[in-house]
Amino acid sequence: MFRTIYILWLRQLKRYVRSRSRIIGSLGQPLLFLVALGYGFGPIFQKAGAGNYLEFLAPGVIAMSILFTAIFSGIEIIWDKQFGFLKETLVAPVSRLNIMIGRTLGGATVATLQGIIVFFLSIAAGFRPTNLTFLPVALLIMALTALLFTAMGTAIASLLEDMQGFQMVMNFLVMPIFFLSGALFPLSGLPDPIVITAGLNPLSYGVDGIRGALVGQMHFGFITDLAVLSGVTALFLVTGSYLFSKMEI
């Protein structure tokens, strides 16, 4: 059973490491956010007395890259479904739960790695974490966030027929999750609807935890962040496994 999970995990990792163009391509967006927004809004943010914007933004951009990579890893199942590889796994004498676990762990590892790369990218862009002792906490929260959204991607992919639905998922789910998470702006003093939406958005807790660990600014606090992230991850893992086990090809 562990070998099955391991080989599925390894496959995801090998695919990631080998797609160098994908890795480099996926760094363009975070870099743009860091430079254009970080430096563009920096002076206004400073004048409003909210401190260094790049410091505030970098954890949000790290969370963003984890979100995108994780969702995409989950959604890759559609790709495998369309291009046949999934059948090879599904006729094997292996339980679907193990397949789902292996894939999800693989996707989450890849998303966490991507987050770490963006962390270094943001340092290159001028970001300075204020407290490095909390780095392990930041890593833990990054990994949890990665796991959560990979499981979510798997659940969604089990429901979708082909890649055409993917664009809709990006526009109506992933983008709102990113923009309404407090990744780009502080959540205090905002209109109620936005605060409530952000509160219901699991990414908000990931952003908050990473930001808390790296620069010491928090909205919800570590306990809440970890509790919400773990709870929602468990929920998506169960839903994802169920939907994946029901999938017909």
Partner: protein
């Protein structure tokens, strides 16, 4: 109930198998059996129900009604036992193109729990058999269509199955590669006694390769027997003529359905 003796001499037994998708009946009450060591062909046009039948036999689809036995196991009840006992080459390519030939084999070996010490030797043996051993460390995406097919056949055999299913194994391949692939499969059938169940819409393949052919059309088996028997029965010179007189139509490449055309386009673009 199926007789025990019969169970032992047969790899596959199917009784009154039906699959409906909503109002559409894809497979309509078919029965057939395949003896151990036989090469058996399902011959029929696109949409005749060939792939649906294979999907049911290989645990990917639940039948609406009917009974099946694959190597003595029920695909609905003993899923894992059935899955361990067959190898399959799907109609659509099912390799991971970002992995090497060796890694694709290794992945399969681990999923089927082939013990480590046997696995390496067996991979080498099979890759040599399909003449891909010297390309073992190349990414599959750089392989030609024929090489991918050969690799899939090698992979399907890795866990020493008793039956090998091949769904349109030669579609979209050039005649030379097709001959090549059938040579491997006939060798394999002769030396290891493995049962081969393949579907095709190429008349000449069914005629040349199969011990027995079932002609399937619109979800029903229209006729069954050795190519010779089918020809005699319909007083035809070739299997193509026999097919024509049994179903009242011809199968031709250019009549391939839109899905097949898509598949071929995809293959052309190297996906």
């Amino acid at each position: 109930m199926l007789q025990r003796e019969e169970q032992e001499s047969h790899s596959i037994q199917v009784r009154d198998l039906t699959k409906k998708f909503g109002d559409f009946t894809a497979v309509d009450n078919i029965s057939f059996s395949i003896k151990r060591g036989e090469i058996f062909a399902f011959l029929g046009p696109n949409g005749a129900g060939k792939t649906t039948t294979i999907k049911m036999l290989t645990t990917l689809l639940h039948p609406t009604s009917g009974t099946m036995l694959v190597n003595g196991y029920d695909p609905m009840k003993d899923q894992d036992a059935v899955r361990r006992s067959f190898g399959i080459v799907f109609q659509d390519q099912s390799l991971d193109e970002e992995l090497t030939a060796y890694e694709n084999m290794e992945f399969h070996g681990v999923l089927y729990r082939v013990p480590d010490r046997i696995l390496r030797k067996r991979i080498e043996e099979l890759l040599n058999f399909v003449e891909l051993w010297d390309r073992k460390n190349d990414l599959v995406k750089h392989f030609s269509g024929g090489m991918k097919r050969r690799l899939e056949i090698a992979r399907g055999l890795l866990h020493t199955p008793q039956v090998l299913f091949l769904d349109e194994p030669t579609i979209g391949l050039d005649p030379q590669t097709r001959n090549h692939i059938w040579k491997y499969l006939k060798d394999l059938n002769r030396t290891e006694g493995i049962t081969v169940f393949f579907t095709t819409h190429y008349m000449d393949e069914a005629e040349r390769v199969a011990d027995r052919v079932a002609i399937i059309d619109q979800g029903r088996i229209v006729a069954e027997g050795s190519p010779e028997e089918l020809k005699k029965k319909t007083d035809a010179k070739s299997l193509e003529e026999a097919f024509l007189s049994l179903t009242g139509k011809k199968i031709r490449e250019e009549e391939a359905g839109s899905i097949d055309q898509m598949r071929m386009t995809r293959r052309m673009w190297g996906r």
